[in-house]
Subunit: 281 residues, 2 copies
C-alpha cells in the first residue's frame, strides 16, 4: 500500500483546507500548507488543517512525496511549472481543479525529469469559500475523478488514488475530455442557469420567496472568482452543452406559445422520468 511521509497542499481554501484536515484526522501523512497569505496560513494552522505552514513556495514543496495544487483553476498550470523544479525526484504532483482539459494538457509533458503529474477533481464543495468553511469530512462518500493519460504511470495513479481513498472518497477515472463534458452538463450548466435566473428575476416581491426559486438558485451563491474561471476554461465543453439545453428550451417555448398541451405534457413527463431515475439521497 502507498504510504506518504509528507504531503504539501498549495492553496488553503475550502478544498485545500478540508483536504489537510482529512489527511491529518486519518493520520495519512504530515501536512505542509502553502498560502501567499500569512493570515491564511495562521488560520489553517489554528483550525488543524496543516502541521506546518509556509508562505515560501520553494520551502513548501521541498521534500514532499506528494504536492496537491488547490489554487484557482487558472493558477494551477503556472504555479505547477514554477514549483516542479523544487520537488524531489520521484515525487508526484496532482491538483483539484474543476476543469481538466487545459490543466492536463499543460502538465502532462514538460515537467522536470522524475516529477509525475495526474489530474484529479473531487466532486464536492459548497457555496461557501475559504479556510473558515473547511471541514474534515468534506470528501467522505464524495466521488473523486482522476484523469490519467497515456503518459500516466500506474505508480503515479496508485499514489493519487491512495490519497483520495484515504480521505474517504470513491475514486473513478475518466479522460480529461470526458470529465469536462460530464461536468459541463451536471455542474457547470446548472451553475450558469442559477446565476442567470438569480440575475433576471426579482424574487423580493413576495414576503417569502418560493422554495422552488430558492432551490434552483442556491448555487448562484457560489464564488464568482471561482466560476468565471470554470466557465471560461471549460468553454469548449460548456458551449455545446448550452446548445443542447437551448434546443430543448426553444422546443418547449414553441409548445407553450402554441398552447400544445399534449406535446408539452409528454415532454415534461420525459424530463420527470429522467429526474425520478436519479438517486437523491
Amino acid at each position: 500500500m502507498t504510504r506518504f511521509d509528507r504531503i504539501t497542499i498549495v492553496g488553503l481554501g475550502l478544498i485545500g483546507g478540508s483536504l489537510g484536515m482529512a489527511i491529518k484526522r486519518r493520520r495519512l501523512a504530515r501536512v505542509v500548507g502553502f498560502s501567499r497569505s500569512a493570515a491564511t496560513v495562521r488560520r489553517a494552522k489554528a483550525c488543524g488543517a496543516i502541521d506546518v505552514g509556509v508562505t515560501d513556495l520553494r520551502r513548501a514543496v521541498a521534500g514532499a512525496d506528494l504536492v496537491v495544487l488547490a489554487t484557482p483553476v487558472d493558477a494551477i498550470v503556472p504555479t505547477a511549472r514554477r514549483l516542479a523544479r523544487w520537488m524531489r525526484p520521484g515525487a508526484v504532483l496532482t491538483d483539484v481543479g474543476s476543469t481538466k482539459g487545459g490543466i492536463v494538457a499543460g502538465l502532462d509533458r514538460g515537467l522536470p525529469r522524475g516529477i509525475a503529474f495526474v489530474g484529479a477533481h473531487p466532486l464536492t464543495g459548497s457555496e461557501q469559500r475559504g479556510i473558515d468553511a473547511a471541514q474534515p469530512d468534506l470528501f467522505t462518500g464524495a466521488v473523486c475523478v482522476l484523469t490519467p493519460t497515456a503518459q500516466t504511470s500506474s505508480r503515479t495513479l496508485a499514489h493519487v488514488r491512495a490519497l483520495w481513498r484515504g480521505v474517504g472518497a470513491q475514486v473513478i477515472e475518466m479522460s480529461p475530455r470526458e470529465h469536462d463534458r460530464t461536468l459541463a452538463g451536471t455542474s457547470h450548466l446548472p451553475h450558469l442557469l442559477a446565476y442567470c435566473l438569480a440575475q433576471t428575476v426579482d424574487a423580493n416581491t413576495l414576503p417569502r420567496t418560493p422554495q422552488s426559486f430558492l432551490d434552483t438558485t442556491r448555487i448562484a451563491k457560489s464564488d464568482p472568482d471561482l466560476w468565471d474561471d470554470i466557465f471560461v476554461t471549460n468553454r469548449a465543453a460548456l458551449l455545446p452543452a448550452m446548445d443542447v439545453f437551448e434546443g430543448e428550451w426553444r422546443r418547449l417555448r414553441a409548445l407553450i406559445a402554441r398552447s400544445n398541451r399534449s406535446a408539452l405534457r409528454r415532454a415534461l413527463g420525459q424530463a420527470k422520468r429522467r429526474r425520478d431515475a436519479l438517486n437523491d439521497s
Copy 2:
C-alpha cells in the same frame, strides 16, 4: 370575525386534501369533500381530510358557506360555472389555482346573483401529488395570495382571508396580472428550467450525481399534468419572463465564448448579491 358553518372542497388532491385536514384540525368548519372518484373520497375520509365525502357535485355544494375549487387549473372555470347555480345565495366561491388571470376573468362576472368569487393561490405544495401526500400543516407559515378586483366586496375578501389565516397562512393581495407576472418569474420559470435541464443532461454517467444538479432539477419531479396547464395558462406572463432570462443567458454566453473573465465575474457577482439578499430560512 368570520365564522364558517360548512366549507366544501371540490377536488381532493394534495392541496384540497391538505386544506381539509388543516380546517378540521383547527375546527374552523365542517368539511364536505367532492371528488369524481369514489376511491379518492374514501381515502380522503380515511385520512381525516373531510367530514363528509360525495361524488355528486350538486349535493357537495348545496348548503356550503364557502366553496373552494382545488381542481387542476383548466377545470376551475367550467366547474365553477356549473356548480355556482347550486350554491346558496350569499355563499362565497374561491379557488387555489396557480395562475389567476384567466380564472379571475372567467369568474369575476356572470356568476348567479348572490354568489361572489375571489381568487386565491397558496404558495406551497411539493413535487408529490394526490390525497396520499396531503398534510395538515402544508399552509402553516406559507404565503397565500388573494387576487381581488373592482368587483370584489370587502365581505367576500374578508371571508376568504379568514379561511387562509385560519389555516396558518400569511395573506397578501395582488392584482391577477401582478400575481401571474410574479409567479412566472419566481416559480414557473424555475420549473421550466428544471425540466429542460433534466431532459438534456445525462446525469447518470457519474456514480453520484452532483448536488448542484440534484438541487436545480428537484422540481422537475413535479407533476406534468399540473405543469403543462400552468405553463400554457400563464403563457402571457411566462413568455416575457423567458425573454428576459434569454437576454442574460445570451449575454453570459457571449462573455464565456470571448473569454471575457472580468465582465463575466462582475455579472456573476451581481447575480450572487441578488441571491444572497434572499432569505433562505
